[in-house]
Symmetry: D2
Subunit: 419 residues, 4 copies
């Protein structure tokens, strides 16, 4: 808010609305350390917003002579909205760095584990073989997309300067020149017109942050599921009490999922405040604008925290290909039932194929025999040799276009400048 006030005074001086000496005084006084946020917060209750007491405090700090030029022609919302855009820019820039780190981490895992076979799971049940590299390529692509969407949502952050009703009458003929100068000095975009009660920009950022948090949640929850003792396919970094318990010395908790899961649930809810606040009355809302303030800060804080925690999780992730292999073995040759069914269908038609596979699955489930043996016993050999059956139930040859998808994901990542 201080930056906005200084930029305003400076711009006004360039068109002669404010004396240069006042600008110097204002710029000198506008040091963050001089102002007590707690006191300003308290005073904000009476005035209904924090700009009123801040301006008062800034006037005092500036000294009597220049006090009147503080906040010249602006309304509280001009300062608060412009400050929000500055905070959004700084905070999303930090979030973007976390996302870049996270994406690079996913890319590194993808390169390493392109061939690492594991069970692909749908509805938490073994479905088909896949590779860990394809899983992380999915994470990578999702993060890159969330990142691009966030970038797009902030690449034209606008200045707010419209005065009390959006006409900018307070600045007379000089209004447009001041808008241009302030926008230039703060590196913000000049909007078509003041957006005091048209909050699409805020909503676009909020939506992009919700996608960031949700994407982080997808990744860390996958990690938590893979960390289950009975699955044990990855582990998060430990040390310095990380993941420890207050009572259970043997515990190794998936703390990233706890942090990110907590944050993303709150983001998901809070983004609704912003959408619900699009309907702002006339030239300034009574409540809807006020609901945005803390909400936007929380959205930045929580989605930023989620992105950073996920980047940290991925950077410290240990992968256990042995466990992946043994879970694949434990899932059994039944994991290839789709492949066998399709091949049998090609050769024998649908009804016989389904019947043979169903019989074999029933036998393999009940007895100790493998699915391949059960298939033979169920009559599959009428259409294919035992050797062919053996080849069909080999998971390592049934990962489809995994390699190609990985290539594409890495290429797309690299084309965005990712490493």
């Amino acid at each position: 808010m201080l930056r906005a006030e200084v930029a305003l005074a400076r711009a006004e001086a360039t068109v002669g609305l404010v004396p240069p000496s006042a600008v110097e005084a204002i710029a000198a006084a506008a040091e963050r350390e001089r102002f007590d946020p707690v006191a300003l917060g308290r005073a904000a209750r009476a005035s209904g917003n924090p700009v009123v007491p801040l301006v008062e405090a800034l006037r005092t700090a500036v000294g009597e002579e220049s006090a009147q030029w503080v906040h010249w022609g602006a309304t509280s919302q001009d300062i608060l909205d412009t400050a929000t855009m500055l905070v959004v820019r700084d905070a999303t820039s930090a979030i973007d760095r976390s996302l870049a780190t996270l994406a690079d981490g996913c890319a590194a895992l993808t390169r390493l584990h392109r061939q690492t076979l594991m069970v692909g799971r749908s509805l938490l049940q073994p479905a088909l073989p896949t590779t860990f590299g394809l899983k992380t390529a999915g994470w990578l692509t999702a993060v890159d997309r969330a990142r691009r969407h966030l970038e797009r949502s902030v690449n034209e952050l606008p200045l707010q300067l419209g005065g009390a009703a959006g006409t900018l009458a307070s600045l007379g003929e000089e209004g447009p020149a001041v808008v241009a100068a302030v926008a230039d000095s703060l590196s913000l975009v000049q909007p078509v017109l003041p957006w005091h009660t048209h909050r699409q920009q805020v909503a676009e950022v909020a939506g992009a942050l919700a996608i960031v948090a949700g994407t982080a949640n997808k990744i860390t929850y996958d990690v938590a599921l893979l960390m289950q003792a009975e699955v044990a396919e990855v582990s998060e970094r430990t040390g310095n009490g990380r993941g420890g318990s207050s009572t259970l010395p043997q515990k190794h908790n998936p703390v990233s999922a706890a942090i990110v899961g907590g944050a993303s649930r709150r983001v998901t809810a809070l983004v609704g405040v912003v959408y619900g606040s699009l309907a702002q009355e006339h030239e300034r809302a009574v409540g809807a604008w006020h609901a945005e303030w803390a909400t936007v800060t929380e959205l930045l804080r929580l989605s930023g925290g989620a992105a950073a925690a996920t980047a940290d999780c991925i950077a410290g992730l240990t992968v256990h290909p042995d466990s992946m292999a043994s879970n694949l073995t434990a899932a059994g040759q039944e994991l290839l039932a789709e492949r066998v069914t399709m091949e049998l269908t090609r050769r024998a038609g649908r009804a016989p194929a389904l019947a043979v596979v169903a019989d074999a699955l029933a036998v393999a489930g009940g007895s100790g025999s493998t699915f391949a043996v059960a298939l033979e016993e169920a009559g599959a050999t009428a259409w294919m040799s035992g050797e062919e059956i053996g080849a069909l139930v080999d998971p390592s040859t049934y990962v489809g276009s995994s390699d190609l998808f990985i290539d594409r994901a890495l290429a797309a990542h690299e084309s965005l400048g990712g490493g």
Copy 2:
């Protein structure tokens, strides 16, 4: 879903996976009228999704010989997600048309009412003079922005085709060629990789729809506020029972705000389902994906209804410049207190200016005298003539950059092809 199944079979035939005769049979059978949505819905409860019974019904319709080639190599999610993209494309195209009509309606009002003076209101209180044209230019800019954002969110809708775990193993070597052919035939984009549990695309559309609904709500609620009997600055179209009451024959209700307010509240809530469902387990979610289905349909329906109702509201809006003028008069010359204060501050300094204006406001509030007279009595004449005071309290000369902002809004609208 039927279009997706046909496109799949056709693409598979081009690479030799499926016999051409089967494609013909499938295309012939895939007529919407043959299938009973209610029965499919009931059957979907057991299987957990509607694709399973649809495929069964399609196989029956296709006949024994070709039945096995229906849904070849696809998983339920491939069909459902692809179908969702097709529905999103069709529905958002209709929404876009409503938004175009709405924007053009706002532009027309803006051109007509560029000079129509009215009270600008903040927190539901008179703040400063403005013009109705500037208000509608604000609506226009907001609608154009919501529209562009929606367009951006759907301009690369991707095909979904990854098989049961996203590896596309079911299609073997031919997977990528089939993906390319299906994408081409449905005019969808080929994704980097299957996005079964990476729902950023869905979330981007949902967010854009929430902005559409919120923007519609802003406009129609402004209309409802302006239609209040005590304000009476605009009226919605009547006739054919529109806006009537079941008991009060004299009533003229702002029905657009009722419809849009109801719809946008639900959209605001439902969009959270989509963000909350970004965290989908492994290679297929258990619940989060299922939550999306009806939600996306509702989001399209409700935001589309809101856009259409708002376009209709604006097309039939009657503006009452006389009421705007009389409300401006009733607001009194005090509405120009900002202007007087700033001019007095320039001439006399801040403290005297504030004191004189405060005195004058106290007098003007209590007595029957105008603010101008009260200013004179409070001593303003020490710094400015009575004539100057009279000029300062004239609202028609205090609408600032209203005209320029209107020019910019119209130019931006026209540059998008708007009329």
Copy 3:
């Protein structure tokens, strides 16, 4: 709505406002089958609510002579709100029956598995031994609580009858008598005053339904986690395609969690519509009331579906004590590290105890030796015998008050009339 109209006419007849012959005509005409919901829905768009066309249709059905007495003195909201209360009563009664079945199912599992040892898991990691009976006793208590809360939220459902502005002026002196008679005939409560824009009752029901859906989600998601192939401690019922996949013949999906997870996510979002709609303008809202209609129906439908699906899940659940035992074994004696630490702390003090346990955990993790052996090697024998150590690492003697908690949960359930 028809029931409300008939009850109104009947009550008005008792006080002489409406002729008895008209009541007979109205009651005879008010048959559900006569009215086309789709046509009424279409007509509702113009009037802004469905009561206006329904009343028109009812007047036509009633015949000219009695038509004027239809809807006498009522406003649309009277009929719609009263009808909502009737729907809420019927639907929550059905939901209550599902919850009763569900609770009884949990109680039955609790009685059967009071002694069934299993791994207790926190943050998806093995934490301590517990029993399956204690887990289901937790479910049972949660369901009973959700059920009681729902009952409390509907046990005084009020009539709505206040006329167009809540004064009931349309009924003159007879207003209170009519209210009493309608309330009596519909078995609804007389409210203190009309609640047209005071929707606390609706919000209380909505909140209770959200708790029902969330409780169902807790249970079915636990089931889905326990059904994971790597955990395999329970299975849902199969047969008739239940839990099957469109492509993977070996799959056995946790369909309850998919259905309930989908429904409860939507309920969680939709309940916010109702809370957000508490702020209704003056004597009738413009939008907030309209947002409630479909929302309340959806909340009833979705939470009712979730309750029924969960009851069904529990009724058909197969428990695998062998898997529970083998997972407990696999978790290792380390699962008892808390117990060992506490006993060692009592004997040796905190620092030595922590050191010995940490050493033993490090050894047991790395080597093949058990935690008990590792403890001996780490020096625990300075304070306790090997036999004592062996007793401490036995999970079957470390389930604390599990039995007592189960007794209490069953007693509480039975005291509510549960079986």
Copy 4:
């Protein structure tokens, strides 16, 4: 959290688990001022919750000898959940006081304005005459209901004490006795069993707080609408900058609606976090529990702030019966069209009545003549005298059961101990 730790140690001492000297040391050390919340917050990131560092700090403060008895047998969640219940109790007690003040304020307005005629408004349009006393009686009844619901939601707040998996194994045979003693000392209820992953209690409180905030929003938004310059029927208290603007010296803003509207929008969203977090995995959730912490605090803070601001708004409200009267006059005799229609229907039948009233409304709208004169001209005199028409269009005799409803609302309020 410190209170919970002390109560735990004290209870454990009564059953001999912890030495009395340790209890004294713990109680002496557990002074809030000794602990740095910021440092604890930072340390909480690694451990995943704030209890771990608090226990560490408390152990240090207690001294080596007794350190081991701190947190004996408890898990982090026991302390955090119990502390949450204590915070909920204290905070809701303060909220209850605000609601009591608010209700008494509404009751006082109701007594004063029982006869104050005003326009009743539906969909923001004049509907029928009503009284300001009936409007405030509606507020009163809503507040009393919200208050009772909140009371009910906290009148059995339970202790949490179950150890790491809810078995309370850490306390051996003494578990139940310790639970009873801690519950007794903190005046909390003993739950049926530990509720670590069964959060119905938290959700019930959250729902009740959402109703409090929504009720406050209804009242303050009504006030803001009534404060519109064009309506001017009430004013909020001014003075000390309350309701002032940073730029517009004449402004008098409805600040209560801004504060409460902002808070209640956030509450509406945040309550969804709690419902969405009912689905907690197994014996401790990974994320869902963590999402609750800040959410519950925010819900208490925001709904408490909303209740207090609304109480303040009502206590300082100035009512303007003159404006109410003049708005009633301005609404015209048409406001009584319902009454005329019903009386004409009784005498002439529905069709003639509707025709006459429609004619009269068309005339009265277009010409300067009153509705009464227009009715005469439209032929109403065929069924009623001019005198009768004059009596029918008198709003003061058409407020129905307003008086009775007020009596009931005040009686209900007084029966709850309200003043």
